[in-house]
Symmetry: C2
Subunit: 435 residues, 2 copies
């Protein structure tokens, strides 16, 4: 529908906007629709949008402190705000002995902490050739980008241990199993490096037991990173905060306000206990950026906390979101999504043709039509029937070989009647399939 | 000036905007000021801003084709548009045998192509332990993030060769010197992997001789990446395109429209001849994202072309910019900046207290006050005097031990009278220093 080459002459704005309406919008997957229940939602809000407009309007590049002091200062302040809302120990905050930074994605954040852990270990081991001995650990429910990140920083793919989980632990990582695998690796002459634990896994919202895993990590001197990408936002509510118990044993933790915290893409918070280790691994000191503020070591130069040099002023949008909603309304947002998920879970439970496959912890419900033996792809067909109706969008996961339908409740605009309509749609499509 | 914790209750928009005016804006470095001549500029435009608003409003996450088909399709189309404007060979375009992708920064792009080159080499060498044998090459003028990227992907820092350049070659990388270093490495049992050549280096705008370097790269089977981060935008003008001659010998090339192409942050174009190699290195196939479109292999899943899973719809802004300006006005933008730089260079040349240190190629002028022996930090003082006036912002570089002042002309709003005022300011401050 669009020409193969760029126009030579300027085009009227009207034509461009018409093409947006006619060629772009019909081809989008509508992540902001209240009927979007797939993957994890990407919350947008007018507050977040305003923050993005300010960011794009100022268009400053805060790679170091001097290149835009307020951009760095606001980012430090907002990371402390967010950390305090999550009741992180002061060892993760600038007001304590740690600090935080905004990345674009969890994968970038994990690449950076993996590099920090790697370089610390290689220094202690005395040579880069030891990179092939380093081993990283996670459960088989951990986000798949963890393996990608480990490979990116040069850990041999054969040294990525994805420890099997099962229904018996609700798909959370067993500290005992972790210990067995670590001990085996040590016997083989390998060096355990890094453990990634998850609060709210992508397939089913499972929670790894941080406190117990933290003890194992400390015993074997592993870097413990907590990936709270989705459910971290929920932990601002006192009734959910217990999932973070043991966070004081971690070296770093990340979560994405762009998922469930009303902040437009992209925004990932990373806190780290020893920012020095991140800076040791990622810092550069080119002549072209030398300045008195950096020399004084009294300021944060965020270029040394991330992959890229250039960076957008992302802190603005998170700051506007937090102020415009306040902790009170942010908690309300989380709680109302969870209430809707609870009700959806109850509706599914009441219909005997269906079953809840794993217990719900946050606002993600994993369920399926109970299959008869001869209908193995029944739930896959049901997902296709729901999605091809164009009235809602859900996605799926496979848990211990069982295909489940995922209903993630939490777009900014989703209300009870949208969830009720989804359930009615599911029932109708199931009826047709079962006939 | 801001509280230490987040507010519990929502705050009025008016209060937030007042804080933006009173606490944020005074602490920004004003990258959009027409008097900003430091580093390289970060072009913003109303067209780019509109694109960002659309991106932030739709807030879709196009990690694979199915998660927002139009986002992937438009990105592919715009990368072909941009590639055609630069007269890249069809081997880099989707309409040929290659393809392009938008990243947030050059460093991310380079991390990805380095990983692709690394994984291809490790496969050929037959084992991950060979990672310590891989060697990467660049000139000592190459952007410092290249070394950071190489270290990030696990290349030992001792295997980064930064080949010395000098005034004699205008700070461009000598193919002969490159060959010597490569041959030495081979003799030592190392494996040459990757060469990064630059079109328009950050310190002085130097251009590496792509055609000759390409021959060396082919001879030794190095992956040749061209970093045209700044000057690539200029190469849309026929009179500057010759700097890209030899690009057909490269494996990949990147440039940043967010520098000199009127596109708001962040936007980096990466083209690659064999996208399969990128995908081989970076792809993931988690159950949770499986879908018929991906299975068919008939679509592009951009998650496999970058570090992160999630991604913003950046193509919109580049598409709006190109259409709203047209090639004609984009060339006008480049040419008028170059004309202003030429005039500035002439003004400096006419004042016998000053000298042009390296010949200007684009819109970056490197000059200095001719120092008397006893005034070694004269130019450093001059930079401080200019910047502390608050009337303009310049930066510096050190070329073969010589401290030079960099004047990069090219913010969206810079006009002739701003450049003339800068020159007058420089002359005044120099006068005071020399008195």
């Amino acid at each position: 529908m669009l020409p193969e080459s760029a126009p030579y002459c300027p085009e009227p704005l009207q034509d461009i906007l018409e093409d947006v309406s006619n060629c772009i919008i019909p081809g989008l997957t509508h992540w902001q629709s209240p009927n979007f229940f797939a993957y994890f939602h990407a919350n947008a809000s007018t507050a977040g949008f305003l923050g993005e407009m300010l960011c794009s309007g100022f268009n400053v590049v805060g790679f170091n402190w001097i290149s835009s002091p307020a951009a760095t200062e606001l980012e430090s302040i907002v990371l402390d705000w967010m950390g305090k809302m999550l009741k992180l120990p002061s060892s993760f905050l600038f007001s304590g002995t740690g600090g935080g930074v905004l990345h674009g994605s969890t994968c970038e954040a994990v690449v950076c902490v993996l590099a920090a852990a790697r370089d610390k270990a290689l220094k202690e081991l005395g040579g880069w050739e030891n990179i092939t001995k380093l081993v990283v650990y996670a459960s088989d429910q951990t986000h798949f980008t963890f393996q990608k990140a480990a490979k990116l920083v040069g850990i041999p793919p054969s040294n990525s241990r994805l420890i099997e989980t099962s229904f018996s632990t609700g798909f959370s990582l067993s500290p005992e199993n972790l210990r067995f695998v670590i001990e085996d690796d040590i016997k083989s002459g390998l060096v355990p490096l890094f453990l990634c634990a998850t609060i709210g896994t992508t397939p089913s919202g499972a929670v790894d037991p941080i406190a117990e895993l933290g003890k194992v990590a400390m015993e074997f001197k592993l870097w413990l990173h907590i990936d709270a990408v989705y459910a971290g936002s929920g932990c601002i509510c006192p009734e959910l905060r217990h999932y973070l118990d043991g966070v004081e044993l971690a070296n770093s933790i990340s979560m994405n306000p762009h998922k469930w915290f009303l902040t437009n893409m992209d925004c990932c918070c990373l806190w780290i206990k020893e920012p020095k280790l991140l800076v040791d691994s990622l810092s550069t000191d080119p002549e072209i950026l030398r300045n008195n503020a950096s020399k004084s070591k009294a300021v944060v130069d965020y270029k040394d906390w991330q992959i890229a040099l250039s960076r957008r002023f992302r802190a603005l949008k998170l700051w506007v979101v937090i102020r415009r909603y306040g902790l009170a309304n942010l908690m309300y947002h989380i709680r109302s999504d969870i209430a809707m998920a609870k009700r959806f879970e109850a509706l599914v439970g009441e219909d005997e043709r269906f079953e809840i496959v794993v217990a719900r912890k946050f606002a993600l419900v994993c369920f399926r039509l109970k299959p008869k033996v001869e209908e193995e792809d029944l739930n896959c067909k049901l997902v296709e029937a729901i999605n091809s109706s164009g009235r809602a969008f859900v996605s799926h996961a496979v848990l211990s070989g069982i295909y489940v339908i995922r209903c993630a409740i939490g777009t900014t605009l989703t209300q009870q009647h949208h969830v009720d309509a989804l359930w009615k749609l599911i029932q109708d499509k199931a009826q047709s399939l079962l006939m």
